[in-house]
Amino acid sequence: MAYNHKDVAANRPSRLTSGHRMCAGCGAPAVARMVLKAVKPEDHAVIACATGCMEVSTFIYPYTAWTDSFVHTAFENAGATLSGVEAAYKSMKRQGKLPEDNHTKFIAFGGDGGTYDIGLQSLSGAMERGHDMVYVCYDNGAYMNTGIQRSSATPRFADTTTSPAGSVIPGKMQSRKDLAKVMVGHHLPYVAQTLALGNFKDLYEKAEKAIYTEGACFLNVMAPCPRGWGYNTEDLMEINKLAVETCYWPLYEVVDGVYHITYKPTNKQPIENFLKPQKRFKHMFKPGNEWMIEEFQKEVDARWQELLDLEAMTNKAE
């Protein structure tokens, strides 16, 4: 169904309420709320969360900001925990222990720490086993909850508290892991990379497809962190836009192995435009560090080209 953002705002209930304790201007809650708006109003959801910012600020006893059932157990196991919930649903449904009209969707949220790093094994297991669930990674590119430590999702050269930009080592020395492609390697029916852009059409549509595609699906969603990235809080949507326009964070989906890039910038912007407003990249703009921006640009270009090639290759007529 075509996305009508006013209709979604008016008629899809908010399944993540106010009163959570995420930072002002955090990029993650709006993402989670819109993903959940893609759940049909008549359907129930069980949401699992990895330990992280989102979990510790949405369910502080005795307040939960989730209007659906919610379970958090630990940092590295949102995939496995939700596997168990989904297995229980399958089993109980089969045995007639749940009403026939109980339609429950299973959605996990994890930050990049809980997804790319400590939770990767649990995620991989859950995806490989094909549980009917969607795992949503809200990628803010570092362990923000513990105070901005580097993760394997942290971009190269970024200044974090465990990859500080020092006089000898200029920030994180390694490149980002490409998690969406790792997930594609699991041959899932649906994998997509997205973020909140404009009226959230891309995010909503991908969430809807992921939720209503049978089997294990994965969404990688960039969710900026004003504190960790060091941009002006109100610029959230501008940062998202720049990530897309510079091809730092390409929007694409992979349906049964076939790549579709869902947005191709007409004028690809230079990566400086994305890096410049963020304090974590500040050192890259010091005289003598031009090479860092060049290297960064090269990497973005190579990854974008790879994506274009994959799209061309997987869409080739038989």
């Binding site: 953002h5 008016a10 993650a28 005795p62």
Partner: protein
């Protein structure tokens, strides 16, 4: 209200076991409006109801009616981040 039954004076046997909560979405009762240092002011006369601000609010503080039109801010929830004001093309939200 949750706070009337579960608070830091509640006797042990009256607290839910395991920290479970059986009233989903009760965080709505928890006010985060006092986090604000700056406040968005909605100028309804300038608003064209384009809807760009609806989804960006991290705190669900922009109420949208069944007619698809927004109302004034929920100041109990708004943390004053200013993201909505920044995306408004019509200057209908002013940060004060």
């Amino acid at each position: 209200m949750t706070e009337d039954v579960l608070n830091n004076k509640t006797p042990i046997n009256d607290l839910t076991i395991g920290g479970n909560i059986y009233t989903a979405g009760n965080a709505k009762e928890f006010k985060t409006g006092d986090w604000r240092s700056i406040t968005p002011v909605f100028h309804s006369d300038l608003c064209k109801q384009c809807g760009l601000c609806f989804p960006v609010c991290p705190d669900d503080a922009i109420p949208v009616g069944k007619d698809g039109c927004r109302g004034d801010f929920n100041y109990d929830a708004c943390k004053g981040c200013g993201v909505c004001a920044k995306v408004c093309p019509f200057k209908a939200i002013e940060m004060k």
